[in-house]
């Protein structure tokens, strides 16, 4: 039986069993002092969803301004616009979507591997609170004219420190998650038997632990750059903006797609009533996809301004190959769709659309490096873009990023709805969820399409963009605005649904059940998660249990 070294601080039921008296907990020590992975997971999910909404609203405002760059109807100048755009980007990734996935993993992974708690529970709690404080400081740094395009040097340094703390805190949380999967599994739960979601969270964590320190190192350099003003050729504030390109450009940004695939596979298994048959090949495909996301970026390592570059052979090969594991995962899991009885539920719809849009994003990114496609677009638009690198610096990469953010949001919606009842004891409203999925999917396509199309018409990305006199660019700008608005709407609906479930005003009946271990516990699980440590012999222990009961 696997054990974690440190038990959660707050396990009232166990304490009661030991000394016969329940340990009273108040809201303050139950939340702020809790090492319970369920409380920490809820905090990550709730704060992440709220930050996602804020980020999308800020992105919407900057997208509206981008329709006509010469007018400056909302902001005073380009610096203010760059600030808002940058805030939306930073917050959506490290303040919103990644924290939601960290929260889902913190809550679900111990349940899926049969562990009574997450590894290093106090560390997991500290990671959340340090991230939370740093995220607030990051927003504050923008408000006081700091940030990458800000006018006050001290507050720009504050932005660097806040972003660095967010990155380190997330890395810290990822260590807790990965360690739980690697070392705290219950008896019989080998790595090849862990559910696809847990496996994807492991891949997500390990890639994060390889990639995030690179960003942290870049932030150290950025701090020195700001403080001492060196790097004469790269020291501009634009360089600060470009730091985030390392994690928001393809293929590095595919990192966000890893848990989306895992959640989609788990959702397919549950909502078709047929656990996925090709479990191990799916795990392998998700692993390969994760390696592609990191590996290609690693080989194309450059300090700043990483873009889809046609002259980087490794990157081109990786961008081509990255579609294969996505296709394999969806196709193998699709067997359950064909032979099972799919129900139109929010997790299934969000998971499937997330997976398909991930595939589409990989395909669009590929378009930048395939000459025939470039030639075709060249003919279509009349613009000379034969050299694929001409897309560098345009909004093309913004489009890829926008699509990946949408894919991430769909994955988050799928996870929150799939395990919502397990998390809060009340299931999020499914019809409202379907509306959320529609808005998110539509928004993803439009936000991405608007930016990608503008890139093909040579629209420069911020902070370089300063004018767009062409009518066609105003049309692509409007398309982008509609896209972000839809995503913001889905963010509002997601937050409303989470609030409803957390307040206990929604459906209290467990809406569905699955074949993996988390469905063997109460909703929400009691302290310690399982009355007895389960012993498993396959990837679908509850399906085995049902079969055993059928035999007997």
């Amino acid at each position: 039986m696997a054990l974690t070294e440190t038990r959660p601080e707050t396990q009232p039921a166990q304490a009661e069993a030991l000394d016969g008296e329940a340990v009273p907990t108040t809201l303050i020590d139950g939340v702020f002092g809790s090492g319970d992975h369920k409380t920490i997971g809820r905090l990550w999910i709730g704060a992440g969803a709220l930050m996602t909404l804020v980020a999308l609203v800020v992105s919407l405002v900057s997208a509206i301004e981008l329709i006509d760059l010469e007018a400056f109807a909302i902001f005073d100048d380009g610096d203010q616009l760059t600030q808002a755009w940058s805030l939306g980007r930073d917050l959506l990734l490290f303040g919103g979507l990644v924290p939601i996935f960290v929260g889902l993993a913190t809550f679900i992974v111990p349940l899926q591997v049969g562990s009574p708690s997450i590894a290093f529970p106090r560390g997991a709690s500290a990671a959340f609170w340090s991230w939370f404080v740093a995220t607030d400081v990051l927003i504050l740094s923008y408000l006081v004219n700091g940030g990458p395009a800000g006018g006050k040097l001290d507050f720009s340094i504050l932005w660097v420190l806040a972003l660095g703390t967010m990155v380190v805190s997330i890395g810290w949380a990822l260590i807790c998650i990965a360690t739980t999967v690697l070392a705290a599994r219950t008896t019989g739960m080998s790595l090849e038997r862990v559910p696809a979601a847990t496996w994807s969270f492991l891949v997500f964590s390990v890639i994060g632990l390889f990639a995030l320190p690179i960003l942290a190192a870049e932030l150290v350099i950025a701090y020195l750059d700001l403080r001492y003003g060196f790097l004469p050729d790269k020291a501009s504030r634009a360089g600060l903006v470009e730091i985030m390109n390392g994690v928001t450009a393809a293929p590095a940004v595919y990192w966000l797609g890893v848990p989306v695939l895992g959640i989609a596979v788990d959702a397919i298994g549950v909502h078709t009533g047929r656990p996925v048959r090709f479990h191990k090949p799916i795990l392998a495909a998700i692993g390969v996809f994760g390696f592609m996301a990191f590996g290609a970026d690693f080989f194309s390592f450059d300090f700043r301004g990483r873009m889809v570059a046609a002259d980087n052979g490794m990157l081109v090969v990786a961008l081509l190959a990255v579609m294969l594991p996505i296709l394999a995962t969806l196709a193998l899991a699709g067997e359950s769709m064909g032979k099972g009885k799919p129900k139109v539920t929010t997790p299934l719809a969000a998971g499937l659309l997330g997976g398909l849009l991930l595939l589409a994003t990989a395909g669009v990114a590929l378009a930048a490096v395939v000459d025939p496609i470039i030639g075709f677009i060249e003919t279509l638009t009349g613009n000379d873009i034969t050299v694929a690198n001409k897309l560098e610096g345009t909004t093309f990469n913004e489009g890829i990023r926008a699509m990946m953010m949408g894919v991430g949001l769909l994955g988050a919606i799928a996870g929150v709805h799939h395990w919502g009842h397990k998390i809060w004891g009340y299931a999020p409203e499914d019809r409202l969820g379907l509306l959320t999925v529609l808005a998110a999917a539509g928004g993803t396509v439009l936000w991405g399409a608007g930016n990608v199309a503008a890139g093909f018409f040579d629209q420069l990305a911020l902070p370089a963009a300063n004018s767009n006199p062409d009518d066609i660019l105003q049309i692509t700008g409007i398309v982008s605005v509609v896209g972000v608005a839809l995503l913001a709407l889905s963010g509002v609906l997601l937050v409303l649904n989470i609030l409803g479930a957390a307040a206990g005003r929604l459906n209290g009946v467990e809406p569905w059940t699955g074949a993996t271990l988390e469905w063997a516990t109460d909703s929400p699980p009691a302290p310690g998660n399982f009355p007895e440590m389960p012993i498993v012999a396959s990837a679908t222990p509850l399906a085995d249990l049902a079969a055993d009961k059928g035999d007997s």
């Binding site: 590894a119 070392a183 350099i221 003003g229 790097l231």
Partner: protein
């Protein structure tokens, strides 16, 4: 909630799985080491890239008047290599439940860590390189400083695990904490080898 007690019955023809060993701290430390290697590696990579740019532009890398003597870096290298042997002594002693020897060894490790930090401070002093005096200086300070911070954390880790062993947490039957601290220390020595080559030797 599903009753899982029935499921605990494993068919007779299935071999009992090997019980998993609790290696939470060891694996968590390994993951932290990976991150540290990536972080410091990135800093060194950036240092090397900037250095190459400067040299290709016809300038010298180190500002005039700055020298990097080799005595101190080499002594630090020898100290840290020697600390590996001491760490092996500590883990071996724990393996045979010889706690006195283990604590002496861990104390020496921490002492060597202090020696390394003191030597680094002295080296920076005699290099005549003010942190804010030059852009290149701040980069050198960043790389060296990152490693000093790592070693300080490693010293705290070793000391903390030593105290926990004193409290009875670790013994010959469970050496995980000391092994984790040892791994963290070894990675610190490995990282110093990179810093030593990139900054002190290559100059």
């Amino acid at each position: 909630m599903t009753d899982i007690t029935v499921y605990r019955k494993i068919p007779d023809n299935v071999a009992a799985p090997t019980p998993a060993r609790p290696r939470v701290l060891l694996i968590g430390t390994a993951l932290a080491c990976i991150s540290a290697i990536m972080g410091l590696g990135s800093l060194v990579a950036f240092y090397a890239a900037v250095r190459q740019d400067v040299i290709q532009s016809g300038e010298t890398w180190l500002p005039s008047g700055v020298t990097i003597p080799l005595t101190q870096p080499n002594m630090m290298m020898l100290t840290l290599w020697f600390s590996i042997l001491i760490m092996v002594w500590a883990t071996y002693s724990l393996g045979v439940d010889d706690r006195s020897n283990m604590h002496i060894a861990l104390g020496l490790i921490v002492l060597m860590g202090f020696g390394y930090i003191a030597q680094t401070m002295f080296l920076l002093e005699i290099m005549n390189l003010g942190a804010a005096s030059d852009s290149r200086a701040s980069l050198i300070y960043a790389v060296i400083g990152a490693h000093v911070v790592y070693m300080a954390i490693a010293m705290l880790f070793v000391a903390f695990m030593g105290i926990r062993t004193l409290g009875g947490d670790y013994s010959a039957r469970d050496r995980e904490g000391i092994y984790a601290a040892a791994m963290f220390w070894y990675v610190g020595v490995f990282l110093y080898m990179i810093v030593w080559l990139a900054i002190y030797i290559t100059k």
